[in-house]
């Protein structure tokens, strides 16, 4: 029977990648010199499973690599070597290498083995550095005796306990018969050790056997039969020479070459080839707990009941059943809302998925920079949409790197300023309204306002530096083309600035702000919608058209006073708002609307754009409501200034404003 092992590969990859996450998490908690064997055990177990699976499913490279890791772990587990910083480092690197190998294999690619080879040598070096236990020499019958053996005499004296391990002596005899053929086997039972029936314990084995095999067979084949009971018996193999055999068993002469049943060729346990399937796309999948699915099914059940009630009502409807119709519609509304909420929940994952990489990152980067950092993760169970999670990963990494690089100080400087040598970095997540809030705070040096201001003036980003409050200065770091790093380090100087972080977050309909106090620390606060499928929007009217402005980007709405607007040639109009001038975007111009666009009674919606505040001129503020986002790109084509569309309750379509894009677009039109 042949089983197609590739059907188990996906499960193997998933569980192995999970195993690596466990290894990594445990390794990060492990301290050099630790005697926490439970942690080492857990790490070992994960490695062990990966190795076992890899071997079984034919991933030789993974199996060989994990073997070294496992061996080293085993020695630590057995107390033969201490947990060293070097070992932890090697294990962490191994986790990376294995993850890369597995991911490549999962994609059906041939993995790059160069790093794995290097690390293998490192591991081997460590393993070689201690006394290697000598391989136990086994009693082997000299090869000469074997080759000339024409048969065997086996003395098999089991211990009394043999039966208690589920071993049946008859099985061995049966197997030998299968190996050489029944006619070549003679068995003699020695019952001399049998005790009196009164004292006989039926679970003990009192018998021993002498098995004579008159047939040429390799000793190793016989040893294999007794492999499981070697330690529970007294067993002796005596080779029978040609003379022996012929004298004692004359009939053998007739067929001197007794057919030895062909021993089944050992099937290749480890396939060298990556399973032939070419690179295949892996379907994105999420794990959903049964509870969530059950509650969905439950809800659909309710919906079906409501639906059948309503259809029955419709069949012979008269005004007397109006009350029941209304009640049914209310029920339908409730069902729909519950169903919507629950379907959304399926896409929700705890933010620990995004947070889990930070212990490692903080450890590595902190070590590189010579800083001592204690990372605290809070609210890891807070759930958010999978897509949002995937997109927030990189901005978070950037912010954490930034805090490590620019925020937290070196131990010496911290000591000098009277702080503890260990810097603290906290990642916190929680729900607030329909949003998820993620805070990245450190107790480092805080933002250097002087330096920020100087740089901003140098780059021509501000003209009147005196007018800025500390808060406004802090916001300057989000401006495009701003970077305060003294030297471009490989930590945060990747050519990616805070402006990119801000843009990424805004693309998710989120916002970011910073609070900072010099010498005390900084906190970056990210606000994100829980899902990308639904948006909290402000409905506005421009002419006869309705638009939706994302609520999260609205700062305030005020009455427009047209006489305050200053028109500057070749540029957008601006308007003073308290002590700053903000650009004004006239939506009717941008979208070329002509009818009913009298501005005398217009409203100004102030939104937070990429480059600061922007005022949008609209005719009327309508209600606030949640809207389901439909993609324009998928259904039509990309339109500048518009991020999508939605269908309103009355069936009409409203476009959703992309605030940053709209400002840029109107700038281009003006220019």
């Amino acid at each position: 029977m042949s089983v197609d092992l590739s059907q188990f590969h996906q499960v193997f990859f998933e569980e192995s990648l999970e195993g690596l996450d466990i290894m990594e998490a445990q390794l990060l908690q492990l301290q050099a010199g630790s005697t926490d064997m439970e942690a080492v055990n857990t790490i070992f177990r994960a490695a062990h499973s990966i190795k076992g699976g890899a071997g079984t499913f034919g991933f030789a490279d993974v199996a060989q690599f994990t073997h070294l890791v496992e061996t080293l772990l085993d020695e630590i587990r057995a107390g033969q070597r201490p947990v060293t910083e070097h070992a932890i480092e090697l294990f962490l690197q191994s986790v990376d290498v294995l993850r890369a190998l597995l991911l490549a294999l999962q994609q059906g690619e041939r993995p790059d083995l160069s790093t794995a080879e290097q690390l293998k040598q490192e591991l081997q070096k460590v393993l070689d550095s201690s006394a290697v236990p000598e391989t136990a020499s086994t009693d082997v019958v000299p090869a000469a005796a074997q080759s000339s053996a024409q048969g065997w005499l086996i003395e098999f004296r089991p211990d009394v306990d043999l039966l208690r391990t589920g071993n049946e002596p008859f099985r061995m005899v049966r197997e030998i018969c299968e190996l050489v053929g029944q006619e070549a086997v003679t068995v003699e039972v020695d019952s001399s050790a049998l005790v009196d029936i009164q004292t006989l314990d039926p679970t003990s084995c009192y018998l021993s056997w002498q098995i004579r095999i008159d047939c040429a067979i390799e000793l190793s084949n016989l040893q294999e039969v007794f492999e499981w009971v070697e330690d529970e018996c007294d067993i002796r193999y005596q080779a029978l020479s040609q003379a022996h055999a012929t004298r004692d068993v004359p009939e053998l002469e007739a067929q001197p070459e007794a057919p030895v049943p062909a021993v089944e060729p050992e099937p290749l346990a480890v396939k060298e080839e990556v399973p032939a399937a070419a690179k295949r796309p892996v379907d994105a999948s999420i794990r959903v707990s049964i509870d969530k699915v059950d509650s969905l099914i439950n809800m659909v059940g309710e919906l079906v009941i409501t639906q059948s009630m309503l259809s029955q009502l419709g069949q012979d409807f008269d005004l007397s059943s109006l009350a029941r119709l209304q009640q049914g519609l209310m029920q339908l509304e409730q069902n729909t809302r519950e169903l919507q909420e629950n379907v959304m929940k399926i896409r929700m994952l705890p933010i620990s998925f995004a947070f889990s990489r930070f212990p490692r990152l903080v450890r590595d980067v902190g070590g590189q920079l010579g800083k001592q950092v204690q990372l605290k993760l809070m609210g890891e169970d807070t759930e958010l949409d999978k897509t949002v999670m995937e997109k927030i990963g990189d901005p978070l990494v950037h912010l954490v790197r930034n805090s490590l690089d620019h925020g937290l100080e070196t131990p010496e400087i911290r000591r000098q300023s009277g702080k503890s040598e260990v810097g603290h970095l906290t990642l916190n997540a929680y729900h607030q309204g329909g949003n998820i809030v993620i805070e990245i705070s450190d107790d480092g040096a805080g933002l250097n306002e002087e330096k920020i201001l100087r740089k901003a003036v140098e780059r021509g980003l501000v003209s009147v530096p005196e007018a800025l409050t500390p808060e406004e200065i802090h916001q300057l770091i989000f401006l495009p083309g701003f970077s305060t790093a003294d030297t471009v380090s490989d930590i945060s100087g990747r050519g990616v600035g805070m402006d990119v972080v801000k843009r990424n977050i805004q693309e998710l309909n989120g916002s970011i702000e910073v609070q900072s106090e010099q010498g005390v620390g900084s906190t970056f606060t990210i606000r994100l919608p829980l899902t990308l499928a639904i948006l909290d929007g402000q409905l506005v009217r421009v002419g006869n058209e309705k638009y939706v402005i994302p609520l999260v980007s609205i700062v305030e709405s005020i009455q427009l006073e047209p006489r305050n607007m200053n028109h500057i040639a070749g540029s957008q109009p601006v308007m003073p708002l308290r002590d700053e001038y903000i650009p004004i975007v006239c939506m009717k111009d941008v979208f070329s609307l002509t009818k009913n666009t009298d501005l005398s009674d217009a409203m100004l919606v102030i939104v937070d754009g990429e480059r600061g505040k922007v005022g949008l001129v609209v005719n009327e503020l309508l209600g606030q409501q949640q809207v389901v986002i439909k993609s324009l790109e998928q259904n039509y084509e990309r339109v500048p200034g518009i991020s999508g569309a939605t269908i309103l309750g009355d069936g009409t379509v409203a476009l959703i404003i992309d605030v940053t894009g709209l400002h840029k677009h109107s700038n281009e039109r003006a220019a």
Partner: protein, 120 residues
């Protein structure tokens, strides 16, 4: 057809073993660790137990010891799935009362051969 209890904390190994054994006509029950296996064994007498060694909660060695305490399992063959690197595991397993072992990595055919050997 004989019934087999397959115990392994790795889902892929469990799937592979179950698929192979069921394909050969055996009746198979799965458990993901020793505790789960012991609970199943207390409810029903399986003809053979196939267990991984390294598992959380209750490992294979502890499982064999516990099984041998059950009247129904005094003589039931228990095979351990081990790897060559854990040589002393074989000894430990035997001392605990295991019947024998199958060395990982193994392929489905090797697994079936061994099990047929034991069940006769």
């Amino acid at each position: 057809m004989p019934s087999i209890l397959a115990v392994d904390d790795s889902a892929s190994m469990r799937q592979m073993v179950t698929f192979t054994l069921k394909g050969a006509g055996f009746e198979v029950a799965e458990a993901k660790d020793g505790q789960e296996a012991l609970a199943l064994a207390q409810q029903k007498k399986y003809d053979l137990v196939l267990s991984d060694v390294n598992m959380p909660n209750m490992n294979g060695i502890e499982l064999v010891k516990a099984l041998r305490q059950l009247a129904d399992y005094k003589f039931v063959p228990v095979l351990m799935l081990t790897t060559e690197s854990t040589g002393d595991m074989k000894t430990q397993g035997k001392q605990a009362g295991a019947t024998g072992w199958i060395v990982k990595p193994f392929n489905p055919d090797q697994l079936l051969n061994t099990i047929r050997r034991v069940l006769g």
